[in-house]
């Protein structure tokens, strides 16, 4: 079985100095027998030993849970929610540093640091956001978390390493956000149609559902929320609008950056089209998303793109793509618009 030390200790600069002083004072005391030097030596060594015990008492009762974002974007600042709990009955924990190690889909590793926690009282929780920027698309795993403290004297930093199984899984990272303004201009006719036939997302009441990330706060039904204690949003029946399918063009080359650029473009375009009230679906090798409207659809598309693999060979059924306006998207942008578009 893979074994490792339960704690890692890293000496700080002042720690190294104090060790050097302890050695020097110890030698001087042993040589001269000056009892007051022995007293000073005792103080330094007692400080070092108790520092070890106290840092252990600060770090031992800490529990950590890390929650990844629902969906992150390549290149966009994201946040991991780091929740610490001090399960000690009496002793508070001081000066806690939290570092997370993330592993990307291509086995790249990234270190993320959470804000410094000055004090966590016995039985208390703290919640903070660790900022990070994902560099690649796919599934990012929270590999390890290390809780460290230099408490009480800053002589050394004691670390406790927590491995993935105790942390809380990982999260998906969608393709990067890229500029699609010029291509939106090309598709103005489609967007224009959609705008002409729609007023908002619709006026007819459809139902209530719990609030989710990405929902417009203006749609919160406050009276219902106040009664139930949970945020609820109003769903309205969508008006009729334009439906398009963004189809990923067959990659011209196997270059990774080209493939990713195509996905980034597709995701960004879908997002912008959906913002403009167009119903968007996605067609790609192994992926078929029926066109739909709204924030949910944005999320679905981005999540699907985050999970997308070029290696998948399964093709969706042909009839599913023939009835919609198809926009062929490649690494450089919109390549072609197929069909006159069909209304749902």
């Amino acid at each position: 079985m893979w074994e490792r030390a339960p704690r890692q200790i890293e000496f700080t600069k002042s720690g190294k100095s104090i060790i050097a002083i302890a050695i020097a004072v110890g030698l001087a005391a042993l040589n001269t027998g000056n009892n007051l030097l022995f007293l000073g030596w005792g103080l330094v060594l007692a400080g070092i030993v108790l520092s070890g015990l106290l840092s252990e008492s600060a770090i031992r009762p800490l529990l950590i849970r890390v929650l990844g974002p629902k969906l992150a974007r390549v290149g966009d600042p994201g946040a991991l929610i780091v929740r610490l709990h001090n399960k000690a009955r009496r002793t508070p924990s001081f000066a806690i540093e939290t570092a997370l190690e993330l592993t990307g889909p291509d086995a790249t590793r990234q270190k993320v640091r959470a804000p410094f926690v000055f004090l966590l009282r016995a039985g208390d929780d703290s919640q903070s956001a660790a900022r990070f920027v994902a560099q690649s698309r796919g599934y990012w795993q929270i590999q390890t978390a290390s809780l460290a403290t230099a408490y009480p004297f800053g002589f050394f930093k004691k670390k406790k390493r927590i491995v993935g199984a105790e942390l809380g899984g990982g999260f998906w990272v969608a393709p990067a956000r890229v500029a699609v303004d010029s291509d939106l201009q090309k598709l103005r006719s489609i967007i224009g149609e959609a705008q002409a036939g729609r007023v908002g997302r619709g006026d007819e009441f459809f139902g209530l559902r719990p609030f989710q990330q990405g929902d417009d706060p203006r749609h919160i039904h406050w009276r219902r929320s106040a009664r139930s204690g949970r945020l609820s949003v109003i769903e309205t029946e969508a008006d009729e609008g334009t439906l398009v399918v963004l189809e990923l063009a067959a990659p011209g080359s196997n270059a990774e950056d080209k493939r990713e650029a195509a996905l980034a473009f597709l995701g960004s375009l879908a997002e912008r089209l959906l913002e403009n009230g167009v119903g968007v679906g996605v067609l790609a090798p192994g992926l078929w998303l029926t066109p739909d409207f709204g924030a949910f659809q944005t999320e679905r598309i981005l999540l699907a793109l985050a999970r997308f693999s070029y290696e998948a060979q399964e093709r969706p059924l042909a009839d599913k793509r023939s009835i919609y306006t198809r926009i062929l998207v490649g690494p450089e942008g919109v390549e072609k618009v197929l069909g006159a578009g069909g209304r749902a």
């Binding site: 002083i21 027998g33 022995f38 106290l54 508070p92 000055f118 004090l119 795993q141 199984a165 105790e166």
Partner: protein
């Protein structure tokens, strides 16, 4: 509630600055009162508060100025060091450290500068152990420890909060800094109690470590500074008074009765036999003769007493009278565990050591007690050889002729030596005034000025005048330096001599009684002093400090080990309970306390061991979700389905991998179901922090074990 907490304590910034200023001030106080440190350095005490004030207002010295000033300090220190040599090394290093500390405090711009200041403070404090090894140092040690703990704790919190965000702009950093330093929710009564407990633990651990460090070594390299003013190498009329020292205790005499103390104590140090115009000095070579001729004659019954002496003499162990035997218990060298060697008693009845005293020494003497004047009933016949007689009668060639006239005037009828001596001593006592001032020190002939003009002086004037008059009258005489009078501690029955008790007196020779001790100083007739009140309390504390800290050595450690051994031996014999009290130096409650602590620690360790297990290579305490995780992992491992490097995977990934590898048989479907259920419970407990009934956990664990065995 948060608002309430915010208002609860002082700001973190204030606590941080206070800790640093206090620690550095105490470090300065550890060295500044030392006699050898220049008094103008006291001004450095203004630096810590000034630096704290300036730092709070973001005003510090620039690095260029600091470097330049540092070089200047080094240059000055080198000049003093080269001039003074090794003897002033500690003082020069101390002054340099004070300079550097002041510069560092005034120029701190980064957190590491604060740590550097604290380390310098610590080194300064260690210098205090050489310069000022008194009880004051002990009290400062406690205060300094507390201040350093406080300073380090708050520094760690401040730096942790301030300086981690490398990507931030300067403005953002400044904003964070202000926010961090203004926090009031950290320095609360709870925090103070934690610091207090921490300080107690550290001080207790320091004491334990101090007592248990091995007292071995060579003791060849090191520095020591004497406490109190050491006895001079001559008794002169030009310098300051021997008795002008501080009230610091330099010697303690154990084993005396108050009756003996009341009769007047003279702790006899070096003998000065060469008379010159400026005073008495010691001859460089010993005068040929035996103690019976040149030493003090024993009087009364011999008795035993013990002396604890600071290193105020050079190669002489002072005694209360002629000795029959001397045994050095410990000390005398720099290393307290190495007893200095004595080389015997010389012709002047001085107890000599093989090397100069460099540390406190404790020695036991079997000898006699010397009193002023001739013992009654002694009619022994003592004689000096001609050369010895000439040696002790020698007068300065340019002596004032009025002295001879004075002697002739005083001695009209007296024949016997001791009667003549009584005339001289009575004359000096009755017609002269004791004064610590030196009105005659700068006269061309201070002795003549004392005898014929001013008639005021301190003990050296009286001793030299008395000895001169005796020699002029044809009575061999010499001057002795040491300590006289002292103060009596009635509680512990100890006689104490302070620096201010340093004294000079006379010994003269008579054929009837040999060498007789006598004192013509008027102050010598004062009433015995008794130690009372606050002075008594301070002295007892000081004594404990000297006995248990300064004087602590190998013999103490061996004694403690022997006591424990003997105690255990007695215990092993199955003697009665009272036998435990036979532990000689250790009270029985200490034994029981140690036994209780060991027992408690062992039972705690056992309970922790039983409640914990290894998970992913580390010891895990009692945690239901991790116990279940452990059970799942073990079950999968036993089935051979655990992939490599599983440690870095989530439980969900591990189980998913396991499920894909399970075959499609019915048995495997049951296993899949079991694993999925286990995962659900685990994730519910671990991430949703949900409560699950213990019965459910135990039942799933049992199922996992069954599957593990299948």
């Amino acid at each position: 509630m948060i608002q309430g907490r915010m208002k609860a304590g002082m700001t973190l910034g204030f606590a941080y600055e206070t800790g640093l200023a206090l620690a550095t001030t105490l470090a300065l106080l550890a060295v500044l009162p030392a006699q050898t440190v220049p008094s103008w350095l006291w001004i450095s005490l203004l630096i810590p508060p000034l630096a704290a004030y300036l730092h709070r207002h973001s005003k510090t010295l620039g690095s260029g100025v600091t470097t330049l000033a540092g070089f200047l300090i080094l240059l000055i220190a080198s000049a003093f060091g080269i001039q003074g040599g090794l003897s002033v090394l500690v003082e020069v290093m101390t002054a340099t450290l004070i300079g550097f500390l002041a510069l560092r405090l005034l120029s701190r711009n980064e957190p590491r500068h604060d740590i550097q200041a604290l380390l310098m403070g610590f080194l300064l404090f260690l210098a205090g152990s050489i310069l000022q090894p008194t009880l004051v140092y002990g009290l400062l040690f406690i205060a300094f420890s507390l201040a350093v703990i406080w300073a380090l704790l708050t520094h760690n919190l401040v730096t942790g909060g301030l300086f981690r965000e490398e990507e931030l702009s300067e403005d953002e950093k400044e904003s964070i800094k202000k926010h961090v330093l203004a926090r009031r929710d950290i320095i609360t009564p709870r925090f103070l109690s934690i610091v207090a407990v921490l300080a107690l633990l550290i001080l207790a651990s320091t004491v334990v470590l101090f007592a248990s460090f091995p007292r071995i070594g060579f003791g060849r390299f090191g520095f020591s500074r004497q406490r109190g003013i050491s006895l001079p190498q001559s008794v002169s009329l030009g310098g300051g008074s021997m008795a002008g020292g501080s009230g610091e205790v330099v010697a303690r005499i154990y084993g005396l009765s108050y009756a003996r103390f009341e009769r007047g104590l003279y702790l006899r140090g070096p003998v000065f036999d060469i008379l010159k115009k400026e005073g008495f000095s010691r001859s460089h070579k010993d005068i040929a003769g035996a103690p019976s001729q040149l030493g003090l004659h024993p009087q009364g019954e011999p008795f035993e007493y013990e002396v604890f002496l600071q290193p105020v003499t050079t190669k002489i162990l002072p005694i209360l009278g002629p000795s029959r035997g001397v045994f050095v218990i410990r000390g005398g060298k720099l290393h307290p565990s190495m007893p200095i060697r004595t080389i015997g008693v010389n012709a002047y009845s001085e107890v000599l050591t093989a090397e100069p005293l460099r540390g406190p020494v404790r020695y036991k003497i079997n000898g006699y007690f010397s009193e002023n004047g001739a013992a009654s009933g002694l009619l022994n016949s003592f004689s000096l050889t001609t050369s010895q007689r000439e040696h002790f009668l020698k007068l300065p060639s340019d002596q004032d002729p009025r002295i001879l006239d004075l002697v002739n005037e005083l001695l009209s009828q007296k024949q016997k030596s001791h009667l003549k001596a009584a005339v001289f001593s009575d004359y000096l006592r009755n017609n002269f005034e004791y004064s610590l001032a030196q009105p005659n020190a700068f006269e061309s002939d201070p002795l003549a000025a004392f005898l014929f003009d001013d008639r005021r002086g301190h003990c050296e004037y009286f001793a030299i005048a008395y000895a001169t008059l005796l020699r002029q009258a044809g009575i061999p005489a010499r001057v002795v330096g040491g300590y006289a009078g002292g103060i009596w501690d009635p509680k512990d029955k100890i006689a104490l001599f302070r620096s201010s008790d340093a004294h000079a007196w006379v010994e003269y020779f008579t054929p009837e009684s040999g060498w007789i001790q006598d004192d013509a100083t008027p102050a010598s007739t004062q009433l015995p002093q008794i130690l009372t009140g606050l002075a008594a309390w301070i002295e007892r504390m000081e004594r404990r400090w000297d006995d248990n800290i300064v004087d602590y050595g190998l013999s103490h450690q061996l004694g403690a080990i022997e006591s424990v051994y003997l105690g255990l031996k007695e215990l092993g014999k199955g003697d009665q309970k009272g036998d435990l009290l036979k532990f000689r130096n250790i009270p029985s409650w200490v034994f029981w306390l140690v036994a209780a602590i060991i027992g408690l620690a062992f039972s705690l360790w056992q309970s922790q061991r039983l409640r914990s297990f290894h998970f992913f290579g580390r010891r895990v305490q009692h945690d239901q979700s991790l116990i279940l995780a452990h059970a799942i992992i073990e079950a999968i491992r036993k089935q051979g389905l655990l992939e490599e490097h599983y440690e870095s995977q989530t439980m969900r990934t591990i189980i998913n991998h396991c499920l894909t590898n399970l075959s499609s048989e019915t048995k495997s479907r049951e296993a899949s179901d079991l694993l999925v259920r286990s995962l659900k419970i685990y994730e519910y407990m671990a991430f949703a922090e949900g409560e699950t009934s213990i019965i459910k956990i135990v039942s799933i664990q049992k199922e996992l074990k069954r599957w593990q065995k299948s």
